[in-house]
Amino acid sequence: MAGAFWCIVEDDRNGSPKKVMAEVIGEAARLAPGRVEAVWLTDKASEAGLKQLGEWGAARVVLLENAAFAPYRSEVWVAAAAELAGKEAPQAILAPVTSRQREFVARLAARLGVGLAADCVGFALEGDKLVATRPVYAGKLLSKVTWAKAPWVATLRPNVFRPAEAQPGKTASVERPAATAVGAQMKFVERREEVSTGLPELTEAETVISGGRGMKGPENYVILEDLGRVIGAAVGASRAAVDAGWRPHRFQIGQTGRTISPKLYLGFGVSGAIQHLAGMRTSKVIVAINKDPEAPIFKIADYGIVADLFEVVPELTKEFKKLLEK
């Protein structure tokens, strides 16, 4: 087992790797010290971004830069990545779970004729095999899977793996092979930006606030957003709140929404239906605020307050403000 561990770079579409890459690189370095390589398909990479990958611990960066790589299309990316994989025979190909990486690495695995393990939360080397752990059945069970042959292709759930610490001054060798883009069958029409809440993205945030049916209506989410601004948290919602039309679907946490794994999850008026737990039960610290002492979310919460959320949220905002101003 001497091949490289590729980390497929997810970027912010502006030339910088997303911070979730510190987690992917950190885990790759734990599994294969000294053999961590970043493979970056982009239309534009910044020098600062390349430097960042080196500081996180990539020994080598292969930059595949081509205007045709944006916006992302799986057919174009896979052709370029498979060509490189054919030349270099990596041992593993790792990427963070994002909307495009989920599609891209699945398609790449099919091109290479190898297995894919998506949304992994743990890895272990057992002899010459890699065993991945992934939540299945609404997070009720953990499945351990392994590959018949290399490259081992996997996506990593954000906020689960210990991020590499940046080491200032550490650099990666950067290679820029000719990046050929096959003609794409699909043609880009337009991008429609979401109205930004100014708060972090759900799947990336270290702290997530979630409002459930107890929020009573769409107008009340403003108090959660106020709290979110104080502690730098994303604000999501339960299925009940989304299905009631209070929040757009992109804010839904749960089995038919986003899967999150923040350091801190705060649920307000969330009952804790199984399908919601499926999307947040790997959160590190879970706080539940609900009037109903029987709400199932209390069973998995680390801290709970049985009270009216409309009394708790303003108090909590005030207390956090005091704490963070210190």
């Binding site: 495009r100 894919l116 949304d119 059945y137 018949a148 089995q255 610290v285 709970g304």
Partner: protein
């Protein structure tokens, strides 16, 4: 136009799942089975395309053991015209790639112009089959679509896919593969007439040999399945709201170091 919808039968979310004696699969006794919710969005969208165009055929396809017929039957009750059941023990341990290979063979046999899949099945949450189908067929693919329109002469589809921060809209020449995201539509409930009619519709059984060739071994295999370790018991903070909130903030800062 012929639309093929791939569906998977999965345990109902609320159902209790236990690990079977082999330590690798689930004990299926007493499980309530449903069509994976994302696949219902795919079925619904296929039916709407057919209704809007006033012509066409919608075929539901699924891979799995005998019980899967029930899931296919509910797709027929929603309005699919017929169903194909890939039913062969040779596929019992199929990974996403083996599944995609079998489905791709059916899609070629059927000469479908559009394939709709759910974003992911809610049992193993791999979310890979759509992309792998696209790869095996050499078709363009759009993931997590929130809306789609087929052009008048059925030569292309305009699809909006959900990405972090917005929607990206593409024109895909047909044939193409689309993965349905929640929000694409609101799936219909089968009517009584639909349920009665479904009993007369065809569910064709296919074996691996009908798809011309041996099943290649799975590239990913399950080596173990275990229950989630229980979380340590939590603590309900008592007292009036201001006191409890103060204690919560202190605990999060000092004990849990979460803020």
């Amino acid at each position: 136009m012929k639309i093929l919808v791939t569906i998977k039968q999965v345990p109902d979310t609320a159902t209790q799942v236990k690990v079977a004696a082999d330590g690798k699969t689930i004990d299926t006794t007493g499980i309530t089975w449903i069509v994976s919710p994302y696949d219902e969005f795919a079925v619904e969208e296929a039916l709407r395309i057919k209704e809007k165009r006033g012509q066409g055929e919608v075929v539901a396809v699924s891979l799995g053991p005998d019980r899967v017929k029930e899931a296919l039957r509910s797709c027929l009750a929603m309005g699919c015209d017929r169903a194909i059941h890939l039913n062969d023990p040779a596929w019992a341990a199929a990974d996403t790639l083996a599944t995609a290979r079998a489905l791709a063979a059916v899609i070629k046999q059927e000469s479908a112009q559009l394939v709709l899949c759910g974003r992911q099945a809610i049992d193993d949450d791999m979310g890979a089959v759509t992309a792998q189908l696209a790869e095996l067929l050499g078709w363009p693919c759009a993931y997590w679509i929130m809306e789609e329109t087929i052009d008048a002469d059925a030569k292309s589809v305009r699809a909006a896919r959900q990405v972090e921060g917005g929607l990206e809209v593409f024109d895909l020449p047909l044939p193409a593969v689309l993965a349905a995201q929640k929000g694409l539509n609101e799936p219909r409930y089968p009517t009584l007439k639909g349920i009665m009619g479904a009993k007369k519709k065809e569910i064709k059984d296919l074996k691996a040999s009908d798809l011309g060739g041996a099943v290649e071994p799975s590239q990913l295999s399950v080596v173990g399945l275990q229950a989630l370790p229980p979380r340590p018991p939590g603590r309900i903070i008592q007292g009036d709201v201001p006191t409890a909130v103060k204690e919560l903030v202190r605990s999060l800062r000092e004990d849990a170091k979460a803020i």
